[in-house]
């Protein structure tokens, strides 16, 4: 990946101007995405933003209405069986074969179009997701979290080049979330596996992904390294007693300023020097100022607010 967050070499996933419609409703429009070998790309966005639609397009469940989509050089809808030799999916909510045991899932599902896994492989995978003690129980009695683990396990056999996970953290306890993160990083670092995962846990995505695709109402809101999203939102936060008056006076001075959370005002970091900030403190009756770099959640929230017209675009 280069400094701009673009994929080098042969991309496993290449989407250009991708779009999909459910009848007259546009679910996805003009989305670009590239995922290279050994990369982890996150997919974020509010409910109904098009994340699952994108994953279904990748799996070949849906036929793109516009644009181009290649996964491992193949068009998913037209050539799904060959593409799926090297790609595994775990969809949310996890759908399993109710009257089979966890071990039977791992014995039979990977054998569809592939070699039957060795018992030691099955045992190791069950152990990796923490299901070894419940391996021979029917999944009908599994909790949601255990289903998530098994759904992930079936996607790991046999090892794919690309792993696509839909909300894999849902239903997992905090320790399991950490274990999943460690597992995905290990798969990437040791086996060169590429991962595309959608999640509502932005903190988790921020820790894990090389790049982030944020969707809103089917369109790309942000695409790049998470640091670029948070960095772009960094600024100087001014804590004031009368935000309305201060806002007017700052704008009268030609400064680009906007209202931030908590009644504070925010200026882009390059808009004023330290000396100017001190002068502002004196002249405008500001209480304090500080450099503010928002977390991924806050940055995304502001991005969404800006899109909805509640704030200004960066």
């Amino acid at each position: 990946m280069d400094e701009g967050g673009n994929t080098r070499g042969d991309a496993l996933v290449r989407a250009r101007g991708l779009g999909y419609r459910y009848g007259s409703r546009t679910a996805l429009h003009d989305v670009d995405l590239e995922l290279g070998p050994g990369e982890i790309v996150g997919l974020a966005g509010p409910n109904g933003s098009g994340k699952t639609t994108l994953l279904k397009l990748l799996a070949g469940f849906l036929r793109p209405a516009e644009g181009e989509l290649l996964v491992l050089g193949r068009r998913p809808f037209r050539d799904a069986p060959r593409m799926l030799r090297d790609v595994r999916f775990a969809f949310a909510p996890p759908a399993l074969l109710e009257r089979l045991t966890a071990r039977e899932h791992l014995r039979h599902l990977p054998a569809i179009g592939g070699p039957r896994p060795e018992p030691r492989e099955i045992a190791a995978t069950l152990s990796a997701v923490g299901l070894e003690e419940r391996a021979d129980e029917s999944v009908a009695g599994f909790s949601f979290g255990m289903r998530q683990r098994l759904s992930l396990a079936q996607a790991l056999l046999p090892r794919p080049r690309l792993l696509v996970l839909d909300e894999p953290n849902d239903g997992l306890d905090p320790l399991a979330v950490l274990e999943l993160r460690a597992l995905l990083l290990r798969l990437r670092d040791e086996e060169g596996m590429s991962v595309l995962l959608s999640s509502h846990l932005l903190l988790e995505l921020g820790e894990l992904v090389d790049r982030l695709l944020v969707l809103a109402e089917g369109e790309t809101l942000f695409y790049g390294p998470p640091a670029r999203l948070t960095g772009a939102r960094a600024g100087v936060r001014l804590v004031v007693s009368d935000a309305g008056a201060a806002l007017a006076r700052l704008r009268a001075r030609g400064l680009e300023v906007r209202a931030a959370a908590g009644g504070e005002l925010e200026l882009p970091p390059e808009s004023l020097s330290l000396g100017e900030a001190h002068a502002l403190l004196r002249d405008l009756g500001l209480e304090s100022y500080r450099l503010h770099r928002p977390g991924l959640e806050e940055a995304l929230l502001e991005l969404l607010r800006a899109r909805a017209g509640e704030g200004e675009c960066p």
Binding site: Y22, K56, A59, G60, F61, L62, R63, F77, A80, P81, R82, M83, L84, R85, R88, F89, F91, P93, A95, L96, L97, R99, L100, E104, H108, L109, P110, A111, I112, G113, G114, R116, Q154
Partner: protein, 278 residues
């Protein structure tokens, strides 16, 4: 491997056992009906009187044939339509279709596996109904030659007498012939199930459609339509119980039903291959 997995799912599911239990209940009901009728018979229904006037007419084979005929008309096609309708739509509604289709498996192979297994299930169920009816008839009444008379069942227009060996052979032939007929409501159910994601809707529509077509094929008013309806050929296997079966007629009817099954199966596969899994 998909066949093995689908077989495992089928064996572990409740569907075959529910079907078997229904067949057993139906046979017991038929047996009770026959005995109750015999006890209470005081010159009521004229058609059935043939059966009980002389006990030699009513033996285990007669019971098995009548049970099979009624079961074939009412129970088996409904199970066939239900089974077909449950396949694609059932997996789609539960999300399990995502699980299966995200494996390197063509939709045609998945479809074929489901069709073969549900067809086999119908074959077994048909055999269970026939075999259990014969066994029950043997135990409860005893076998003998098979005598049939004209009556409400429209099995024959004249007295038919078949020796026990010949009758058993005809039963054996009727098994695959009846299964072939049942493959039409089965594939019809498959086709309907490819249009939606609700197995209940698909099953309801498939059963309703079958029943409507069946009723239409039985009403004199629609006589001109009969050649075009598969339901008018469903009971063609009854021709096997004539002393000299008309093999040409049987072959034509079997070909017609096979054609309908292939048509519905092809439509279902075509629809399933193009269908988007939303």
């Amino acid at each position: 491997m998909i066949v093995r997995l689908e077989l495992l799912r089928l064996v572990r599911s409740r569907r075959p056992w529910i079907a078997a239990a229904t067949v057993a209940f139906f046979l017991l009901l038929m047996l009770a009906g026959f005995y109750l009728y015999a006890e209470n018979e005081t010159g009521g229904a004229a058609e059935f009187r043939y059966t009980f006037e002389n006990r030699s007419y009513f033996n285990g084979l007669t019971f098995a044939l009548y049970s099979f005929y009624f079961g074939f008309l009412l129970v088996l096609p409904v199970f066939g339509a239900l089974e077909g309708a449950a396949q694609i739509a059932g997996d789609a509604s539960s999300g399990r279709l995502y699980l299966l289709l995200s494996r390197p498996l063509s939709r045609a192979r998945l479809f074929a596996a489901k069709l073969v297994l549900s067809g086999t299930q119908i074959l077994v169920l048909t055999g269970v109904l026939m075999g259990a009816g014969m066994l029950l008839g043997l135990v409860a009444v005893g076998w003998g030659s098979l005598d049939l008379y004209p009556g409400v069942l429209q099995m024959t227009d004249r007295h038919v007498h078949l020796g026990q060996d010949v009758a058993l052979l005809r039963f054996l032939c009727a098994w695959p012939a009846a299964t072939l007929a049942l493959s039409v409501p089965l594939t019809l159910g498959f086709w309907i199930s490819t249009f939606g994601r609700s197995p209940l809707n698909a099953a309801g529509l498939a059963v309703a459609l079958y029943l409507v077509l069946y009723v239409v094929s039985e009403i004199h008013f629609f006589e001109d339509l009969r050649p075009w309806l598969f339901t008018s050929s469903m009971t063609f296997w009854r021709g096997l119980f004539r002393p000299d079966p008309e093999w040409g007629y049987l072959a034509r009817e079997a070909a017609k039903l096979l054609g309908f099954a292939l048509l519905f199966g092809t439509l279902a596969l075509g629809r399933f291959r193009r269908r988007e899994e939303r």
